[in-house]
């Protein structure tokens, strides 16, 4: 893969030339009464390997590598955000906000792991198939070398008739070449198919796992859209409308005790709540209210618990966001664990079958593949461990 497409195309040309000579040899053998496969059969075998466009798979791998780089660049800054939030915000609502941030981080890490696994799987598959094809082309190109006694195919019948080359030697030579070609095609096609099936196995694993915050995310997306509109409103309207502290207290209190949509007092204020505030506001309002209105610290502690659930069912959107953070904590880790295990156990497989299936010659080049894949396995761990360390450090 890294040697470039040109060299592979050169190898392919050599292989085609070798096959052409093999077909010529077989034709000469038929003139001498030796049975052998038709030229079309030989060409079909070659086309089976040619049909795979390794350049396209390598391009897929490169696209995934670029995507992984972009996403991981973002992810590496997630732990830092939690620290900043921790430093810059202290309150019960801040605790909820940090929880939401951690939940998002876990979910994002899970996604990154999937992306990482797919990227490595694709890159390793491209590398392995590339080596398989190179080995195949090299072997097939050898089929065209002159037969025993360096007799070119055109002179072969004459050499046999003249007694320079025994017919048995020619028959055995042709048989071994055809056998070599057939087994090469077989092993290469099986190797390619096997590697791709392993790719699909990782696909099945990914598909089987539902996205933790899928439903919540969808809801939050809609809410996000409305939030953008509501936020600007709330900013100017909030301070302006809330001239009297008493009225503010009453309004907010109702927001806590009753589902947010039930807010009647200030229409302008109500918008932001269902809109984008869902979790964010849900976190803020109940907690702050509980602490402030509850008069006692103890009340403040209990108030959030009662206030939050009330808010959650109140907003379909907030329900989406809250589940996101809440479900993430429980579902996030569960998701992550299976992924790595599956991928790690799945990855070694790709390499194991490769050496087994292909011929010794072909399995040789595959040897390096385990190295690349094994090198990929540890990489996800460092990333995750780095995130965990960051989180642990924060705590």
């Amino acid at each position: 893969m890294r040697r470039g497409v040109d060299s592979l195309s050169t190898l392919r040309q050599d292989a085609h030339a070798g096959v052409a000579e093999l077909i010529e040899f077989l034709g000469a053998g038929r003139l001498m009464g030796l049975a052998g496969p038709e030229g079309a059969t030989i060409r079909t075998g070659l086309q089976m390997v040619d049909a795979f466009d390794i350049a396209a798979l390598s391009a897929d791998a490169r696209a995934l590598v670029a995507a992984h780089r972009a996403v991981s660049d973002q992810l590496h800054h997630l732990p830092e955000q939690r620290v900043r939030l921790d430093d810059g915000w202290h309150s019960a609502a801040a605790t909820r906000a940090v929880d939401a941030v951690i939940g998002h981080q876990r979910r994002a890490e899970s996604d990154l792991y999937v992306l990482h696994t797919l990227t490595d799987a694709t890159a390793a598959a491209a590398s392995g198939i590339d080596r398989l094809m190179r080995s195949f082309y090299l072997a097939v190109a050898r089929l065209g070398t002159p037969i025993a006694a360096e007799t070119p195919p055109a002179e072969l019948p004459e050499a046999v008739l003249g007694g320079r080359v025994p017919l048995g030697v020619v028959a055995e030579d042709l048989r071994s070449r055809v056998e070599l070609f057939t087994s090469c095609v077989d092993a290469t096609v099986r190797g390619i198919t096997g590697i791709l099936e392993i790719l699909n196995r990782s696909l099945d694993g990914i598909d089987a796992e539902p996205y933790p915050g899928g439903e919540g995310v969808t809801g939050s997306t809609e809410s996000a859209g409305s939030t953008e509109h509501s936020v600007p409103r709330s900013v100017p309207v909030g301070p302006a409308d809330l001239a009297a502290v008493d009225s503010v207290v009453g309004e907010t209190a109702s927001a806590v005790a009753v589902p947010v949509p039930g807010e009647e007092p200030v229409p302008g204020r109500e918008e932001p709540v269902p809109g984008g505030g869902e979790p964010g506001r849900g976190e803020d309002v109940p907690f702050q209210l509980g602490g402030a209105v509850g008069t006692h610290g103890d009340d403040a502690v209990t108030a959030p618990d009662t206030g939050v659930p009330q808010d959650v069912p109140a907003h379909p959107e907030s329900g989406g966001a809250d589940p996101g953070s809440g479900a993430l904590e429980s579902g996030g880790p569960d998701r992550e664990r299976p992924d790595p295990e599956r991928a790690e156990s799945g990855w070694p497989d790709p390499e194991r079958p490769d050496p087994e299936r292909p011929d010794p010659e072909i399995s040789g080049p595959d040897g390096p593949q385990p190295v690349s894949s094994s090198a990929t396995d540890p990489s996800p761990e460092p990333e995750r461990s780095a995130g965990d360390l960051a989180l642990a450090g924060d705590q």
Binding site: Q74, S91, H104, T218, V231, L242, V245, G276, D284, L289
Partner: protein, 152 residues
């Protein structure tokens, strides 16, 4: 939030640093009663609004980046490697390779969908954080007005 600060103000503000308008944008308030009851900073409310807004901005940016990646992946034609007809129109596509390629393409589509959902989640989180910061700031401003009104 508004109520909280207002309530605190009414019950007695023990500490207010740089109320709303300060350069740092830091708001801190608490009640002695709350602290005593909890024995810690249970009643403490402090926010560096700029910091929280910066975090929200990060998630907004992150959402855009991840969404762009998801778009790129969604737009890409994964699994072309099995389409020999693209190279040689006369060639018949290998059914085995084709099925493998379609499964691979579906996997890539799944990945793209996951990233898109992550992008949406990041956008929603950014909005919530920003709204929270703005709400706290607005509440503090209201509380300041309320205090002034009482004084008046």
């Amino acid at each position: 939030m508004l109520v909280t600060i207002a309530g605190i103000c009414r019950r007695g503000v023990s500490r207010v640093d740089g109320a709303g308008d300060s350069d740092a944008g830091r708001i801190a308030a608490g009640t002695d009663a709350g602290r005593i009851a909890a024995g810690t900073d249970a009643g403490r409310v402090a926010m560096d609004a700029e910091q929280v807004a910066a975090v929200a901005s990060f998630y907004r940016r992150s959402s855009l980046v991840v969404n762009a990646v998801a778009d790129d992946l969604a737009a890409r034609d994964f699994g072309r490697w099995a389409r020999s007809d693209l190279v040689d129109p006369s060639a018949e596509p290998d059914p085995v390779l084709s099925s493998l390629a379609s499964a691979y393409a579906e996997m890539s589509a799944t990945l793209s969908r996951r990233l898109r959902e992550q992008s949406r989640a990041a956008a929603a989180l950014a909005d919530r954080l920003r709204l929270s910061a703005e709400t706290v700031s607005a509440g503090d401003a209201d509380a300041a007005a309320g205090v002034a009104g009482e004084t008046r």
